[in-house]
């Protein structure tokens, strides 16, 4: 092994190639290395994407004959009031899926900074990460039970004397979407906390000490050291959670199936329904493309704000 490895650069020295040829050989090697990964990427990402784009201009039931349909599908997506509400639902979920986990994660990370290596920090991290290892489907089912009329949430409300608040949360026209949001927040809290706690351990503790000597209160330490120090981790959390909200499917499918009415229907669920129940593959594809563009548009500013400024 070692002999081989060391003989390679030697061989290069012995037969110097003209610069141009050496450059071409180098880039050829690079392409060869990229090819397998690129083939996978093309087969499983690019091709389906292009196919979706193609379908989105068709009127097609998925089996029979397809007809070119122009931009009609897109016009439907952007004007149909139900579809607009469904897209709006996804953005409402962002509030729960993103703000709660990132906010709580930051609070937890700041609170257990310092005790990170102690038993307390370890326990906190494990407990908070637990939801992450539970399959989403199981989480959805568990929460469905908890939100049911006789479930844990209502029992808890009764026991503290708030009987008037008791309701079937996931069947309520007003409360179903927030309830779904809470499930998502619970699932994503672990991931965000884990990322933020790990990130905060990498911040030099003497920065906090220097700040204390400079007269910083806890709020200043958070504002001027923790937040900027965690910028990239916060960026990752926001990116992941925004995508989880906008492209959500499984939690909604398990807990409410999109109901009551369409109050909790999200684009992911609607795409599935349109394509497989209503046999409107073209419209489903157009909605998928619009969803993808919306995700990219929402993520771009996050990436821009949290990029590593030098």
């Amino acid at each position: 092994m070692t002999e081989n490895a060391s003989s390679v650069p030697d061989a290069r020295h012995q037969i110097p190639l003209p610069a141009a040829r050496r450059g071409r050989r180098k880039s050829l090697t690079a392409w060869l290395f990229i090819t397998p990964a690129f083939l996978f990427y093309a087969a499983f990402v690019l091709v389906p994407l292009i196919m979706s784009l193609y379908y989105s201009f068709l009127r097609w039931d998925g089996i029979g004959e397809a007809r070119f349909h122009g931009l009609t599908n897109y016009i439907t997506v952007l004007t149909d009031s139900d579809l607009l509400q469904i897209i709006g639902n996804a953005f409402q979920l962002v509030l729960y899926f993103t703000i709660i986990p990132v906010g709580l994660g930051l609070a937890v990370a700041s609170a257990i900074r310092g005790q990170m290596n102690g038993r307390f920090g370890m326990a906190t991290r494990t407990i908070l990460f637990l939801p992450q290892v539970i399959p989403l489907v199981a989480a959805g089912i568990a929460w469905s039970w908890m939100f049911a009329s006789t479930g844990l949430v209502n029992q808890a409300l009764k026991s503290v004397g708030l009987s008037s608040w008791v309701k079937g949360w996931l069947g309520d026209f007003v409360w179903a979407l927030p309830a779904v949001g809470v499930i998502g927040a619970w699932v994503l809290l672990g991931l965000c906390t884990m990322l933020l706690v790990t990130g905060i351990t990498k911040i030099d503790t003497s920065l906090y000490e220097a700040a204390r000597l400079d007269g910083a209160r806890p709020w200043h330490e958070f504002r001027y050291i923790t937040l900027p120090g965690l910028r990239q981790e916060i960026g990752v959390c926001i990116t992941v959670t925004v995508i989880a909200a906008l492209a959500s499917f499984d939690i909604v499918y398990i807990s409410t199936q999109g109901g009551p009415g369409i109050t909790t229907t999200v684009p992911g669920l609607e795409i599935y329904r349109l394509a497989f129940a209503h046999r409107q593959v073209g419209l489903a594809s157009a909605l998928a493309i619009v969803l993808m563009v919306l995700v990219l548009l929402s993520i771009a500013p996050v990436q821009w704000f949290t990029r590593d400024k030098k």
């Binding site: 220097a210 000597l213 400079d214 007269g215």
Partner: protein, 361 residues
Amino acid sequence: MAGLSLKSLHKTYGKVEVIKGVDLEIEDGEFVVFVGPSGCGKSTLLRMIAGLEDITGGELYIGDKLCNDVEPRDRSIAMVFQSYALYPHMTVYDNVGFGLKLAKTPKDVRDQKIREAARILKMEHLLDRKPGQLSGGQRQRVAIGRAIVRQPEVFLFDEPLSNLDAALRVDTRMEIAKLHADLGATMIYVTHDQVEAMTLADKIVVLDAGVVQQVGSPIELYQRPQNLFVAGFIGSPKMNFVEVAVEAVDGDTVTVASKDVASLRIPANSTSLNIGDKLTLGIRPHDLLPASNGAIVGRVSLVERLGNETIVNLELSSGAAWLAVLEGDQPLRIGESLILSAEPQKAILFDRNGLALLRAA
């Protein structure tokens, strides 16, 4: 301006006692250096003064004020950290001005103070940069600048030079000395490097294992170390030691000898000595001279020629390894035997407990 007074300070982590009762007076405007080997508790003591570590026992006065439970920001101190601890996302300007900003200093006053500090430290051209764009020496300046703008009564430095290369270290050392002369503030400086301690300090505090071994001026510590630890720690190269026995006691001189050392009459406090007592003899490498009638004989095991002086490693017949620093370039060969004489006035005897038997000064 303020002096400090440490009264029986203790620090324990769980069951481990790290600072074991430190009593110390620091005068207003003094440059005090805490020196000692790694892990002896220097940083801990400094951080207790800064308020970054709780004081387990004892009292800390800054000026006349008992500061045990005073927040760091209210102690009128500033600290320069070993890692510099510059806020990475702020420019140099904002780093230096951060404390003033938190203290709600008006913007124009703040600006003027920041620029004044930058002028003193010759870093005006760096103000718009971020710490990531600075060299080690420049970061050091910014860290000192951040301390200066707050106009503290006491400056604390924790090994501020240890991340710099050798040449820069000497320059920065001189600049810190100059800063002390200019500002006249009390400064406490932690280092494990006894050369830094000797060159900077008005007063050196030698620490070992959480206990103050000796407090004194650099020359005092060099000439009159109170125990074996201080004798071995202060001075470079290290003091030579060898076991000897008392041959005769005569007023305030003691004659000692051993396998390695022919009779040597040394001025010492002889009150509790008897003939035959075992002592440790200490002689500094610079106090040895080649002399055919000398008392010490060793075999040359290594010669380092520096041009202006020659450092000779010797092996005495008992196996003790000694160093001698000789004037000029000496024509010595490895393996040959070398006879050295020592100035008795400069030799020091230590008793069984390692305490120096110094004559009253």
